[in-house]
């Protein structure tokens, strides 16, 4: 049994090295397929990163009246933080809001003068709420509009900007969902097309060995003894193609990281490649082995019918 395995492996390696040009062509096509798969991995990383960056920018603000007690506001904050839908609540005090306003309008003397004329701080405290998921904002707003949840004698909430943002949030939620689905379909289609091409190439390579396969059958070699070396050769080709792809990714992502990361909201492909190297390595080498091995298996089977 062990002898058979060893023979199949060494014969596969020999087949691979001796059928030079055919092996080269197969490796080339498989590399192209794996480059497409790698590109798709990077694209989906860019996509999900961009989407989460957009999602991150969505929040709702609760503005309190100027006479709301700070302790009441903070108690609303701590209540909100216990809700499972809430990811983060940021408190802005009245003084902070005023300071922010001044910095924002530092080159607008007219507004600042008007503010000074007023004598007192016209701005209320506010809470910026971030939900775990964009679809959760409605629940949070429902919670806030229920008076029993809000401490203090009078209604201390001035306004919630959710209603202004609602359409935007809804559209964004929908767009994110659609983009993710479309992205997935696109990824699958591309991967499928390139896998079919790789299969056809491997089949062509084995087609040239069909007489050989028939002779081996007539000489009394068992199916596995014939098929094994072809599968081993296919797997070797797949691994080489994966290694070439991994090497190609290095300068490609470095260049992309250097030149387009400002477009992608600071997302650096090169550092993504380095930090996810193990995952990318496993996916590409696994895909290479599967592609080469399975394609050879299927192709040889056609000619084993003698």
């Amino acid at each position: 049994m062990f002898t058979s395995f060893r023979r199949i492996f060494s014969s596969g390696a020999t087949t691979f090295t001796r059928s030079g040009l055919v092996s080269f062509a197969t490796v080339l096509i498989m590399t192209a397929t794996l480059v497409i798969i790698a590109t798709l991995m990077f694209l989906s990383a860019i996509l999900s990163n961009t989407l989460s960056a957009i999602e991150d920018k969505v929040d709702i603000n609760v503005y309190f009246t100027t006479d709301a007690q700070e302790s009441d506001v903070l108690s609303v904050k701590s209540h909100l933080e216990t809700l499972p839908e809430v990811a983060k609540v940021t408190y802005t005090s009245r003084d902070q809001a005023l300071a922010d306003f001044r910095t924002r309008h530092s080159d607008d003397q007219l507004t600042l003068q008007a503010l000074d004329q007023l004598g007192e701080n016209p701005l209320g405290a506010s809470l910026a709420i971030k939900a775990t998921d964009p679809s959760k904002y409605a629940d949070i707003v429902n919670y806030l509009s229920d008076d029993s949840n809000i401490p203090g004698s009078t209604n201390i909430i001035d306004r919630v900007n959710y209603y202004q943002n609602k359409t935007v949030i809804d559209r964004l939620t929908q767009a994110i969902g659609t983009t993710q689905k479309a992205g997935l379909v696109l990824v699958l289609l591309f991967a499928l097309a390139s896998i079919i091409i790789a299969f056809a190439t491997v089949r062509l390579a084995i087609y040239s060995a069909r007489d050989e396969i028939a002779v081996m059958r007539l000489m009394g070699a068992s199916n596995w003894f014939i098929r094994g070396p072809f599968i081993v050769a296919g797997v070797i080709g797949g691994i080489i193609a994966a290694v070439i792809t991994l090497i190609l990714c290095y300068p490609a992502t470095w260049y992309a990281g250097k030149h387009i990361s400002s477009w992608l909201g600071g997302f650096n492909l090169f550092s993504y490649y380095l930090s996810h190297f193990v995952l990318i390595f496993i996916v590409l080498v696994g895909a290479g082995i599967l592609l080469g091995g399975l394609a050879s298996f299927v192709a040889v089977r056609r000619y084993l019918r003698v």
Binding site: S4, S19, E212, M216, G220, S222
Partner: protein, 233 residues
């Protein structure tokens, strides 16, 4: 029929019809004893190759049975067919060596396929290479060898596992007279060492020089079967 001698190969009323015009067989009955040397002659399309294909279970007969010793050849399930085929050594007109293996490896492959040990291979392959008179070219690939040399390698490959029968389909068809003579001598030697040999041929010289049993085929039928035959058509 009662056997007085043990029968090695027995074609029992074998008929094969092809729809695509490939020459078939019509009601062929013949038996071959162990250690016989049998030449099958006939025009192209007389059914010689079809006869061999039936024996190797490359194709099934439409009617009738092919027996190898006490085994119905076409009742052997496909997945264990290779065990049966190891009993037969095949030689082809176009040699059919494995192109990316050397002469040595081509012969060793047959032994590896049969599950022989590395020691046996290291011992037997050089011996066989010498026997077919190609000992110094074991490291050559088929395309580096002449037709006669390739056919010797092919014969070496066919006999390495000591099969009970050698089946050679037009083994000299692609060779010049000198190589033809030498290949026939090798086949005769193999037969003298106790292996049954079954060849098909077009070559009158080969058959006449042999002076052994000749089966003449015509349009899928056995036309003549002479124990000490000549090539008569």
């Amino acid at each position: 029929m009662g056997y007085t001698v043990p029968v090695m190969i027995y074609f029992d009323r074998v008929t094969k019809t092809y729809r695509d015009g490939t020459p078939g067989l019509e009601d062929v009955t013949l038996s071959i004893q162990p250690k016989e040397f049998v030449s099958i002659v006939g025009h192209s399309g007389a059914g010689k190759t079809t006869l061999l294909k039936m024996l190797l279970a490359e194709d099934r007969p439409t009617e009738g049975t092919v027996w190898f010793q006490d085994m119905d050849v076409h009742a052997v399930p496909k997945h264990s067919l290779h065990h049966y085929r190891r009993k037969i050594g095949m030689v082809f007109q176009d040699f059919r060596l494995i192109p990316n293996k050397t002469a040595y490896e081509n012969i060793a492959f047959a032994m590896e396929a049969a599950g022989r040990t590395d020691e046996e291979i290291a011992l037997d392959v050089p011996y066989i290479l010498d026997l077919v008179d190609i000992g110094n070219k074991g490291g050559h690939f088929p395309h580096q060898l002449s037709g006669g040399e390739q056919q010797r390698v092919a014969i070496g490959r066919a006999i390495i596992n000591q099969p009970e029968v050698i089946v050679a389909d037009e083994p000299t068809g692609n060779l010049d007279p000198v190589n033809t003579y030498e290949i026939v001598e090798i086949l005769k030697k193999i037969n003298e060492l106790g292996t049954t040999v079954l060849i098909t041929t077009h070559n009158k010289g080969v058959v006449d020089a042999m002076g052994k049993r000749v089966i003449t085929m015509e349009r899928g039928r056995v036309a003549r079967d002479d124990a000490n035959g000549q090539y008569i058509l």
